[in-house]
């Protein structure tokens, strides 16, 4: 039994090393709970309590205009409430955000709160791909957003990369730093992950610059390295992602997400909406990266075929809860929960 850790997640820019034992998870989540609106503690069947989100609704996303140049200039500097409040949790049930149609069954009959996640727990081990499958409204995308600190959950403990603290409770600066150094996220919508008014090269370099690399030659070198990994020709680096096809935009996102060699990659419906032939290319690139970098990944998808292709283990989500979990092969061969069975049969 080796005393040395199998995986050391080394970030060359920061020079920090997080050592994770072979049997220790890189990410450990418990009790993740998320709802929009005012919850009430007496709701039937509701184990959670009402109250403010952790950190008073201070997500790293939300409350910011999506596009640069948005007027939003009130002129009154810094007066009145803290910025960052009025992020998603206060919005009281935007069906789009909470995951799509069919949410009425997730609504608390007494207070109208919409539940997205009910006490979800999971662990992610070094080098593995964890699939999360479910329909719209299952909470899987909310889960990904919470893990990436784009949303602040109501409750939950997140331990990352051997660190003892609950990452959800860390300061804004600390969470930004973790995000930048240790996590990469690929969004379903390229607009969410890329800046369309900057070149592809600048997009990919963004996290490298944020991690304090100020050497242009090195930045360019790394950018071109990454373009090669995701199989985008180097000469297209100067173009903006707006001129790229959907599949190429996703590959740019992937390049950006792995630029800093993070230990954890989050993939949220990355091939949804792409043509089948294009999907294959993107999935190939992901497969290659995961294999070569030994990165741990969480792959969220409603498509069991994608899960089957990439995920070692899988969680099945329904209505904000994990209803089944296990090795992907086993779930496919022997689905136990009725819902899982339906999913599997529809695949075959």
């Amino acid at each position: 039994m080796p005393d040395e850790p199998v995986l050391s997640l080394y970030n060359p820019q920061q020079g920090q090393e997080y050592l994770v034992e072979p049997d220790e998870p890189v990410l450990s989540l418990s009790g993740l709970t998320m709802y929009y609106g005012q919850g009430c503690p007496e709701c039937e069947g509701d184990p959670g309590r009402g109250g403010d989100p952790l950190r008073g609704g201070d997500p790293l996303r939300g409350g910011e205009p999506e596009r640069k140049g948005d007027p939003g200039r009130g002129g009154a500097p810094g007066r009145g409430g803290a910025p960052g409040r009025g992020g998603a949790p206060e919005r009281g049930g935007d069906p789009e955000r909470a995951g799509g149609v069919g949410l009425e069954k997730n609504r608390c009959p007494r207070c109208g709160a919409i539940w997205a996640l009910r006490g979800v727990s999971l662990s992610l081990f070094p080098g593995e791909v964890l699939g999360i499958v479910g329909e719209s409204g299952s909470g899987k995308s909310t889960l990904a957003r919470c893990l990436y600190f784009d949303e602040s959950p109501r409750a939950g403990t997140l331990r990352l990369l051997g660190r003892p603290e609950n990452a959800f409770l860390l300061s804004r600066q600390a969470r930004k730093q973790i995000r930048r150094e240790s996590m990469g996220m690929v969004y379903q919508n390229p607009l969410a992950g890329l800046k369309m008014d900057y070149s592809v090269a600048a997009n990919i370099a963004e996290n490298l610059i944020a991690a304090n690399c100020k050497n242009v030659a090195r930045l360019k070198q790394r950018v071109y390295e990454l373009l090669e990994i995701v199989e985008i020709p180097a000469y297209r680096g100067k173009e903006t992602p707006a001129s790229f096809s959907g599949g190429m935009q996703q590959r740019v996102q992937i390049a950006k997400a792995i630029a800093n060699r993070p230990g954890i990659l989050l993939l949220d419906e990355v091939t949804t909406g792409l043509d089948l032939s294009v999907q294959a290319k993107v999935l190939d690139v992901i497969k290659k990266i995961i294999r070569e970098a030994g990165i741990a990944a969480i792959l969220v998808s409603h498509d069991l075929a994608v899960i089957r292709l990439l995920a070692d283990r899988t969680l099945v989500m329904l209505d904000g809860e994990v209803i089944e979990r296990g090795l992907t092969d086993q779930i496919l061969e022997n689905p136990r929960h009725f819902y899982t069975q339906q999913l599997v049969y529809s695949l075959l």
Partner: protein, 279 residues
């Protein structure tokens, strides 16, 4: 001096507000202190911010110089000078070495300023993040978190597209390793003068209602990548047609009659001083 107005035009309340802001600005170099701006008989965008600072710091014993793009004689400089003389009875000069307070737009005088001098700069847009972030709320947060990624990204983008950084005036600077500030639309040539200077620099933006400052002996660096050093304009091989000065910032002038191009000191007071000295 017109005695129907308070000394230096502004009422004492207005001056106090500005004075309080100036002191906080000096204590937090490069940070934009918001202040309550007053109405002035000069249109917004014509230097009301700089003017309010000047009026709040002036003493009757001061000697004032006002320049616009280096020139003492531009319409704007002359109007401002006239207003100030009317209500503050200060002496005026075109000699930057004789002045105790210099109000300027878009240029810093050639001769380095001394510790007993104050340079007041007019700033149209104080927010260096404005080009990359439209929301005031978000910019304030970025300053608070020292998160200047977007500016760096913009500079990197310039290098990717054009192989050089294109900002000509108002090049963003890092003050005391903490705040990124706009030095106002001074040319790159003048940016090094901000670093470890002997004098106090005060910046006023009237329309945006912000005051910021760079104290003497404060580190001020243009934002630049490690391997792409900051470069200033070069006038190598050229000299001022009027006084012969080299190694100064030169304006390119086209002679309307002959169509010839010639060069002239942008700092008109400096040029005049050289010509007087020469005989």
């Amino acid at each position: 001096m017109n005695r129907d107005y308070n000394f230096a035009y502004l009422d004492e309340g207005a001056k106090k507000e500005i004075r309080r802001s100036i002191l906080k600005a000096v204590a937090i170099p490069g940070y934009q202190v918001p202040f309550g701006s007053r109405e002035l008989p000069i249109g917004r965008g014509w230097g009301t911010g700089g003017l309010q600072i000047t009026l709040s710091i002036l003493l009757p014993s001061d000697i004032l110089k006002v320049i616009d793009q280096g020139s003492d004689d531009s319409v704007n400089a002359v109007s401002i000078k006239r207003l100030i003389k009317e209500c503050a009875a200060v002496g005026v000069t075109t000699d930057s070495e004789a002045a105790t307070v210099i109000q300027t737009r878009h240029r810093i005088p050639e001769i380095p300023l001394r510790g007993d001098q104050i340079l007041v700069l007019q700033v149209p847009e104080p927010e260096p993040l404005r080009l990359v972030e439209g929301s005031d709320l978000v910019s304030r947060r970025m300053h608070g978190e020292k998160d200047y990624n977007l500016i760096w990204l913009r500079l990197f983008e310039d290098l990717i597209q054009f192989n050089e950084i294109t900002a000509a005036a108002g090049y963003p600077v890092m003050v005391h390793d903490r705040y990124v500030a706009s030095p106002s639309p001074i040319p790159r040539y003048d940016v090094p003068k901000l670093n470890m200077a002997q004098c106090l620099y005060l910046f006023g933006a009237g329309r945006e209602k912000k005051i910021y400052a760079i104290p003497p002996y404060t580190k001020v660096e243009a934002l630049s990548f490690d391997d792409v050093p900051f470069q200033v304009e070069s006038f190598a091989g050229h000299a001022c047609g009027k006084c012969g000065a080299r190694d100064v910032f030169l304006d390119e002038i086209y002679d309307e009659r002959t169509g010839e191009k010639y060069y002239q000191c942008s700092d008109s007071g400096y040029c005049e001083g050289r010509r007087r000295g020469a005989g």
